[in-house]
């Protein structure tokens, strides 16, 4: 089993939701990114998503896009991200699986095989590619498999079951379930439709389901108890880090992590 699958299985046995925060690499700089990662680990993050800044992110909302723009204005390069992540993941006491969130535009330019190899060498456990539909995913799917990286693709409430099946068959580690029609950082999904949606997806896959997009408050996370295996939080943490620094991130992460624990009684 991959590091991601192992971690999710362990949490499931404890009836605990995985807490999966997202932060942008290089916002405001890679030093801060590294301390943000260790802060998130201390606050109970089970997996961490690292966003690779991209100039034209269509899948991301305004908060994450603005963080990408800030990082790019400082001249961040993919190689710098790999170097810093490699330093971090080779620390003997660092065990949290890291997942890169990367536009296919960047992966294609880098070279599909080269990128997956470099990501693996840096210590990433998986890659989320938000703008790659299953029809175009064969090459990356093969490359990630030979590099032993988990490829994580996304399903949405408008995805047909037939497509969901195909997407799940190309995914490893977990299936990323977008909770709303739209983009990251906007309104949250209605409870009932969320339940129906996740139950529907479950009929076509045994992969753990982690829900993202529109999850920003402890209440959103609590609603996922018993429905999903993990909660992915992006925009609200990116905003905290930007506005209030590491200390702000720490406080917000603490509140969110609390909500992933099994509810008492």
């Amino acid at each position: 089993m991959s590091a991601i699958a192992t971690e999710l299985a362990k949490l499931k046995a404890k009836k605990q939701l995985a807490f999966i925060p997202f932060i942008t690499a290089g916002d405001p700089d890679l030093e801060t990114t590294v301390s943000a990662i260790t802060t998130l680990v201390d606050q109970g993050a089970n997996l961490i998503e690292i966003g690779f800044p991209f100039s034209d992110p269509v899948a991301d909302g305004p908060i994450i896009q603005a963080s990408y723009t800030r990082a790019l204005e400082k001249g961040i390069k993919i190689l710098d991200i790999f170097t810093r992540v490699q330093e971090l993941t080779s620390r003997p006491d660092f065990h949290t699986p890291l997942v890169g969130m990367v536009s296919y535009s960047l992966i294609f330019r880098y070279g599909v095989a080269e990128f997956t190899f470099a990501a693996k060498s840096a210590g990433f456990a998986g890659l989320i590619v938000p703008d790659l539909p299953p029809e175009e995913a064969d090459e990356l799917s093969q490359a990630t498999q030979s590099a032993e990286l988990d490829l994580i693709l996304l399903v949405t409430p408008t995805t047909t079951l037939e497509r969901a099946k195909k997407i799940a068959s190309l995914s490893r580690g977990f299936l990323y379930c977008v909770s709303i029609v739209g983009i990251t950082g906007t309104q949250s999904a209605q409870q009932q439709s969320l339940q129906q949606y996740l139950e529907r997806i479950r009929t076509v896959t045994d992969l753990p389901l982690c829900v993202g997009f529109g999850i920003s408050q402890p209440e959103h996370i609590q609603r996922l108890q018993g429905l999903a295996e993990g909660a992915i939080v992006g925009s609200s943490l990116v905003r905290c880090l930007h506005e209030k620094g590491i200390e702000g991130l720490k406080q917000q992460a603490q509140k969110l992590a609390q909500a992933t624990l099994p509810t008492q009684g």
């Binding site: 991209f54 100039s55 034209d56 992110p57 269509v58 899948a59 909302g61 305004p62 896009q65 603005a66 723009t69 790019l72 390069k77 993919i78 536009s103 296919y104 535009s105 960047l106 992966i107 294609f108 330019r109 880098y110 938000p130 703008d131 790659l132 539909p133 029809e135 175009e136 693709l153 996304l154 399903v155 949405t156 408008t158 995805t159 047909t160 497509r163 997407i167 977008v178 029609v181 739209g182 983009i183 906007t186």
Partner: protein
């Protein structure tokens, strides 16, 4: 020898290896729905008849194929003809596509339209189609472009369209595309996104090409009528590539006709100084399609520059990438300074003020005609009129 491209793109939206769909899953449903609706409309004579009727009564088609006598005499080579898309209602080819897609919106039972715009020509065309067909319209436009294109912003507002300033990234056309695509993801149930060129994920490059193909179809018919044969060379400027695709596509099977696409050479061929995607770019993924792009080593989109806002785009339609690869079309570029001279030359000799985009095509047309014998004919797709650029040109030429 005829090259068969009639059945491209394939079912995955590929033109050779280019095209396809590189979009968030959220959009896949809408793209499949759009593909199905479009293919149905395409083979429905009632839909086609309605489109042609509006093209005739409202847009003023067919546009003229005009012999530019004084320019021809000035150059002293092959005969120069203009396919006068500047005479369309709203002053450019963009209206052909906007009306077509607005009709498609109605057919799909959607009630609202959104569009992106750079120079404002496609925004104006969409606003016009929205007013005509009673579809509330919102146009996304970079705040930098809003400042530069006051006249078109006014035209859109006057027709009841809401112009939404885009403040992200470079605050220009490519950010407006990102924003419109995003907005579409959230509103896709009742909103259609009228993309302005042969770019974006499948089926957009096909749909826009097909609605613009009226240009090339008319040109072929008019050529036979007016001079009894096909032209020797056909020239068009290329931003995203819609006027060029509409002009070239019907000519593709006639391999004896040379096709030439003209990109914006800007100030120089240094990165960031031009918008010549096919000449200096490389294959990559941008705005949902695999085509040529201008990117840095990391895959980040490069800044682009052109004196003409409509050519100022770091990508290009995937079918053009395909035509380049199979060497059916030759792509070249013309710089800012030459384009301004082309504008001046055409204005003085023909009494026609071209759009700055079109002015790039004029320069290449003159270069080609100069090298060719007098009995040959070069047709330029005269994509738009220059009114929108007058303030900017006056500033640059200190008129």
């Amino acid at each position: 020898m005829a090259i068969l491209t009639e059945n491209l793109p394939d079912s995955r939206g590929r033109f050779g290896r280019f095209g396809g769909r590189f979009v968030p899953e959220t959009l896949m449903f809408a793209l499949e729905q759009l593909t199905a609706a479009y293919l149905e409309a395409k083979s429905d004579p009632t839909f086609q008849k309605e489109f042609r009727q509006i093209m005739a009564d409202y847009v003023g088609r067919p546009s003229r194929l005009y012999y530019a006598k004084r320019l021809t005499e000035h150059v002293g080579g092959a005969q120069i003809y203009f396919k006068r898309e500047d005479l369309n209602h709203t002053g450019a080819h963009k209206i052909n596509n906007a009306i077509g897609q607005a009709l498609l919106t109605k057919r799909m039972g959607k009630t609202n339209i959104i569009a992106e715009t750079g120079a404002g020509q496609h925004g104006v065309a969409s606003a016009t189609a929205g007013a005509l067909l009673n579809l509330p319209c919102r146009v996304y436009m970079g705040s930098e472009d809003i400042r530069r294109q006051e006249l078109n912003v006014f035209r859109m507002k006057a027709m009841g369209t809401q112009v939404v300033p885009v403040e992200s990234g470079s605050k220009t056309l490519r950010d407006a595309v990102n924003e419109a695509m995003r907005e579409w993801m959230a509103t896709v149930e009742n909103t259609h996104y009228i993309i302005g060129s042969v770019i974006g994920p499948h089926p957009f490059p096909m749909i826009v090409r097909d609605f613009q193909s009226v240009i090339g179809e008319e040109t072929i018919a008019q050529s036979f009528e007016q001079f009894g044969t096909l032209p020797n060379v056909v020239v068009a400027c290329v931003g995203g590539g819609s006027n060029a695709a509409g002009m070239f596509y019907p000519f593709i099977p006639y391999s004896e006709v040379e096709l030439v696409g003209v990109e914006a050479g800007g100030r120089s061929c240094e990165s960031g100084e031009h918008a010549s995607t096919l000449s200096y770019g490389q294959p990559g993924v941008l705005h949902g399609t695999f085509s040529y792009v201008l990117q840095d080593h990391d895959g980040q989109t490069s800044p682009v520059h052109s004196v003409s806002a409509g050519l100022d785009y770091p990508g290009v339609g995937p079918e053009h990438a395909y035509w380049k690869e199979i060497q059916r079309v030759r792509y070249t570029s013309v710089g800012d300074r030459d384009a301004l001279e082309g504008f001046a030359l055409c204005s003085r000799l023909e009494g026609i003020l071209p759009a700055l985009e079109t002015a790039h095509g004029i320069v290449e047309t003159v270069r080609i005609a100069a090298k060719r014998p007098k009995h040959e004919r070069v047709v330029l797709c005269f994509s738009g009129r220059g009114d929108k650029d007058c303030a900017e040109i006056a500033r640059l030429l200190k008129l």
